[in-house]
Amino acid sequence: MSFDYFELSAEFDKIEEKLGYLKGNELAWEYLVAARDQLGGMAAPGDGYMPSEWWLEDCKFPVPGHEVDPTRWFQFTFWIPFDTIHDSPDPSKLGAANAKYMKDVAAGALQAWHNGASWASGLASYCRQVSDSFTRADATAICSALEDLHTYVTSDFSVNVLDDPYGIETIRTQWTGKSGTSFNTFYANYDGQIAQMAWASVQVAQTFAAAAHVIHGTQQGVLEFAKSIVKIIDQQLEAWAPIGPPPRDAPETPPWVADVTKIVTSGWKVLGHVPVVKDVKSQFDAVISAGTDVSNFVKTIADVTGTDLPTLSRTLDAADSDEIYKLLTDTLYDDYQQKYVAAMDALQTGTSIDPGDSGYQPPINTSDVLDDMPPPWFPRDDMPNEESMR
């Protein structure tokens, strides 16, 4: 299954929207509690006070599909001194002030609820930014290019050297003397350089094959993770509806978090290391064979898919939006992005990425490959050049 960036992006949008609702419920509830507590609570502030009880009315948290009506949980008590009631020329005005307060509280709770969206605003963008490095690349496009690299470059280098439709090999073996020796030397060096280039192209293929596996594995894991977070938020919104109060329990379903390191190393072990070919010129078949192995591995990368991938155990201790937000962003950053970077960087340094298997080395060390490579391959001093033509 190929990765669909827009599917993931849509899941991030859902997370921002729904987590905003959840946060909104919590902020509105907090607001109502603060507004009620501001009045002094159930106990009279002293002797000579009379309580005036008001129930919250016309206040709903407008979560689409999960509307919350908290009114039955909020009774407000206004403590008014007897003297004030007695001395008031119009005691009904005291009631009007209380009614205004209740109206303001209902409006304030709605505003507090909308502040949930303000808090969540930009969360999808942040998630896209954190996952930018491993979600934009197309592993399928890389794999397709690598198959072309093997067929039309590595293998065709071999054809270029080994095919001899015009009898150049005959000239090389039969032509003696100074010119004949020069001609033979030229071709020996030409073939050697082409063989080196074919070998180098296998190293390029090996690097990109290892990287395509990292990209594909991380992408598969992140989509499942994002979907599991949406489910968790849905569960919590469900737990709020329809009358509050806030849910006390954490979601029953744990988040699904891929073990990126294990996915990567298990694939890399299948890819293996590029075999040592001491003399690529005389072992062109070994070069092609190594290229074929990489090409065969590339064909299997797309098979790594679904929820059968190795996972990490992650739990939620609380049920609120902050906890879910922390789980979302920390996991996305620590368990996906940073592990993706560690795996990609390891392809240059050759260092292990699995603390439990420190002896295992990644399938390539591009730093060493670059150091060992002596470009440019052409021209060589002993080959004909522009000067020698004049």
Binding site: Q111, F157, Y190, A200, N385
Partner: protein, 182 residues
């Protein structure tokens, strides 16, 4: 010079006029294919955040492509060098001249061709990627590097908490009508 000739002069001219140019054409074709592959890998490397290992691999791929370009040039030179050697033999060696005069093949009257050297692949290892429309009808398409070092969650949380505090402060609580009694 005659003691040097152990292959027919026709074979030398055939190699100079067809064998080596064909080989150069094949090599140039490989270069063209590689150029297209490198472009794909360059774009995907940019989208993958330009990891150092992939940029190393693109450096190697770019070197291979440069090698192909120089290899084509070298084969072009080799064909002309071999043609010149054949001409020397025909001028100076009786047997070579006789063979040449008796030769009636299609290649006899032509000169070695120079294979067009594939275009420069540039620096694919540089950050980002640029797709150039070969027809020149549209502007180059720039692919920027993905964010390999994004902001840590603690920074995002800090911004978010700040927003929440400001919103809460702006909203405040309604005026408490009982405050005046206390």
């Amino acid at each position: 010079m005659s003691d040097e000739i152990y292959v027919p002069i026709v074979k030398i001219y055939t190699a100079a006029r067809q064998g080596i140019p064909d080989q150069a054409e094949e090599l140039a074709l490989i270069g063209g294919r590689l150029q297209s592959i490198v472009t794909t890998l360059d774009v995907q490397t940019a989208k993958a955040g330009d990891p150092p290992a992939l940029r190393d691999a693109l450096t190697i791929a770019g070197n291979i492509h440069d090698g192909i370009r120089r290899g084509v040039t070298t084969l072009n030179h080799a064909a002309f060098a071999l043609e010149a050697t054949g001409d020397d033999y025909v001028q100076s060696d009786t047997q070579a001249r006789d063979e040449f005069n008796q030769w009636h093949g299609a290649l006899k009257g032509i000169e070695p061709t120079r294979t067009t050297v594939p275009g420069d692949v540039g620096s694919p290892e540089s950050p980002g990627a640029v797709l150039i429309d070969p027809t020149g009808h549209s502007y180059p398409h720039v692919i920027y590097s993905s964010d390999y070092d994004p902001e840590a969650p603690s920074e995002d949380k800090s911004d978010r908490d700040e927003t929440a505090d400001e919103d809460k402060s702006d909203l405040g609580l309604p005026y408490d009508p009982t405050a005046q009694y206390r």
